[in-house]
């Protein structure tokens, strides 16, 4: 199989070579399969500071690149702009698009992509056909088994030019105030709705601060207004890759557990011994999470 990969960093308004390099490395490691013969890589650069995502020139350059080899599979890195560009270009070229892909595998009957379906309660394998578009999930993990194998790469650089036709104008940007280092934190405490009240959740935050570790929450907690969305762990939030995670009053709904798959040691505290979280935990405490937090404080 031959593959096109598209790499860009359009949101920051200036070329950041280290980010482009990181994305390329991630894609190449993910595609490190002995039966992937040739990789054609398109790297997009900005010509001036601008908001490039909605410029028609971006999609045109990507479409031209794909059309040179219409039977090759095209892979995008699944961050915000990769998702936006990949899905947009697949619609404009009328190609089938697989989003949030966590794996690409060769089966006897052909290539398959793997992705989480039904809110991460199941994995689904879908046939990957010639010419289709794949957008990797940022949660995708990959084998480093063949790390030293370098597939043949043909690199193309294109500089974008502003056309100014788009109807979307950026007027303000602000960094996420509560942005944490959840994804890279070594130790994380997570609270769920089992903590019952905002006050109890605040105790968990105090405990994390006292211990000098990061804290996160389930989506249900954020929906209740106890914590900002930036702290949500799972498919609609952050993916953890650290050493230890302790969950307090988290039942273990699949969308949250999907964000814990990179954790090396999971400790769960819940009153319900049958809670799904214990199926994924290394250590379990059947007990009152609130009382334990108070004891730890």
């Amino acid at each position: 199989m031959n593959v096109n990969i598209i790499i860009s960093d359009l949101l920051e308004g200036e070329d950041r070579p280290e980010i482009l390099q990181q994305k390329q490395k991630h894609l190449l490691t993910f595609l490190n399969h002995p039966e992937i013969e040739k990789i054609h890589c398109l790297i997009l650069h900005q010509s001036e500071e601008n908001d490039w995502l909605f410029e028609a020139d971006v999609l045109e350059k990507i479409a031209d690149f794909i059309q040179q080899r219409p039977e090759d599979v095209t892979v995008f890195y699944g961050d915000y702009e990769g998702m936006y560009l990949g899905s947009s270009v697949s619609v404009s070229l009328r190609k089938n698009c697989h989003t949030d892909v966590t794996g690409v595998e060769k089966w006897e009957e052909g290539w398959k992509i793997k992705k989480r379906i039904f809110s991460a309660h199941m994995d689904g394998y879908f046939s990957l056909k010639k010419g289709e578009v794949v957008i990797l999930s940022p949660m995708a993990s990959f084998s480093t088994e063949n790390e030293n194998r370098i597939p043949s790469i043909d690199r193309t650089d294109r500089t974008l030019t502003k056309q100014g036709k788009n109807q979307t104008k950026q007027i303000e940007r602000r960094k996420k105030e509560n942005r944490s280092n959840l994804s890279s934190a070594e130790i994380v405490l997570i609270g769920g709705k089992g903590l019952k009240t905002r006050e109890n959740f605040q105790k968990l935050v105090c405990l994390a601060e006292k211990m000098g570790v990061e804290w996160g929450c389930s989506r249900a907690v954020a929906l209740s207004g106890w914590a900002p969305y930036e702290r949500v762990v799972g498919i609609s939030g952050e993916t953890l890759h650290g050493e230890t995670c302790v969950t307090f009053g988290v039942s273990g709904a699949a969308p949250l557990v999907a964000g814990l798959e990179g954790i090396q040691k999971l400790i769960a505290v819940n009153t319900d011994k049958k809670a799904p979280i214990f199926s994924y935990a290394d250590y379990g405490i059947e007990g009152d999470a609130i009382a334990l937090i108070e004891e730890l404080l």
Binding site: L11, Y80, M83, S87, S88, S90, V91, S92, C97, H98, T99, D100, K115, I117, F118, S119, A120, H121, M122, D123, G124, Y125, F126, S127, Q167, T168, K169, Q170, I171, E172, R173, K175, K176, R179, E186, M211, V213, Y229, V232, S236, T244, V246, A253, A254, V257, Q264, K265, L266, I267, F278, S279, D282, Y283, G284, I285, G287, A291, L292, E295, L296
Partner: protein, 260 residues
């Protein structure tokens, strides 16, 4: 101003036991509580809040909600109580398989979208079939509209026909000024839960009819092969008094070695 929200009704998967998921394609979710798709609920509430803001400016807004696939009368008529002006159900006929029941071929909605000719189309980021996140780009591409991804808030702009759309990106929020018409997928909406409404509004909503449109879908069969998620292994239980448990827990957190 015409705003259309495409939403899905799904089974609440969190209430499905692990052993039920092992049924895979034969899974029967008829008994499971039905809910709005989680991001779709945010899209519905975002549209209602935009309508409220236009109401303060004395600008009329007609809100349409469209769904297909699973149908639950209470969830559909409830939208009238919340403030929607029209609720449409697109009937694709009898769904046979588990996947067909739980997913929606959103291509069937195109005739409705064209007929309604909305200024803004909102939909939850995951809506559509099998968590594809492709409904918004598909609608935009087929209708020739621009689209924005992962909106969290929409507000009226200063000029007529302009909307301020706050989008959540990887590390920041970006506020865009967007001319209508456009499509926007809603992600972690600032108001992600549909508003409560009075019993009176609920009773009145029940009297209103859902507009039904029958269509013949393209083949929705998928070659998907299901696999239940792998469990990590055996959980090692920690027991003892509260103080002892706290001590053990602190020890585990601090030591950091997996095999103690």
């Amino acid at each position: 101003m015409k705003i259309l929200v495409y939403f899905n009704i799904t089974s609440d998967y969190d209430y499905v036991l692990d052993k039920e998921w092992e049924e895979k394609e034969n899974l029967d979710l008829a008994f499971v509580k039905k809910i709005y798709g989680c991001f779709d609920e945010g899209a519905l509430e975002t549209a209602l809040r935009l309508k409220d803001e236009y109401k303060e400016k004395n600008i009329p807004v007609f809100l349409t909600a469209v769904t297909a696939g699973l149908r639950t009368s209470a969830l559909m008529t409830g939208l009238y109580g919340a403030g929607f002006d029209e609720v449409i159900y697109v009937d694709t006929g009898e769904e046979k398989t588990f996947v067909q029941k739980e997913t929606v071929p959103y291509s069937v909605l195109m005739p409705i979208l064209k007929e309604k000719n909305p200024d803004i189309i909102l939909t939850g980021r995951m809506s559509g079939g099998l968590d594809e996140r492709m409904a918004a780009p598909e609608f935009a591409g087929k209708l020739g509209m621009p689209w924005l991804m992962d909106g969290v808030e929409l507000h009226p702009g200063k000029q007529e026909g302009e909307i301020l759309v706050l989008c959540e990106q990887d590390s920041e929020y970006i506020l865009y000024r967007q001319k209508i018409p456009f499509v926007c997928s809603i992600g972690n909406a600032s108001h992600g839960v549909l508003r409560m409404f009075s019993l009176k509004a609920r009773m009145e909503a029940k009297k209103k009819k859902i507009t039904e449109v029958a269509v013949s879908p393209e083949s929705a069969d998928s070659d998907v092969i299901f696999q239940t998620k792998e469990k990590k292994g055996v959980c090692q239980w920690m027991t003892g008094e509260k103080k002892e448990l706290a001590k053990q827990l602190k020890h585990l957190i601090r030591r950091g070695q997996k095999e103690e």
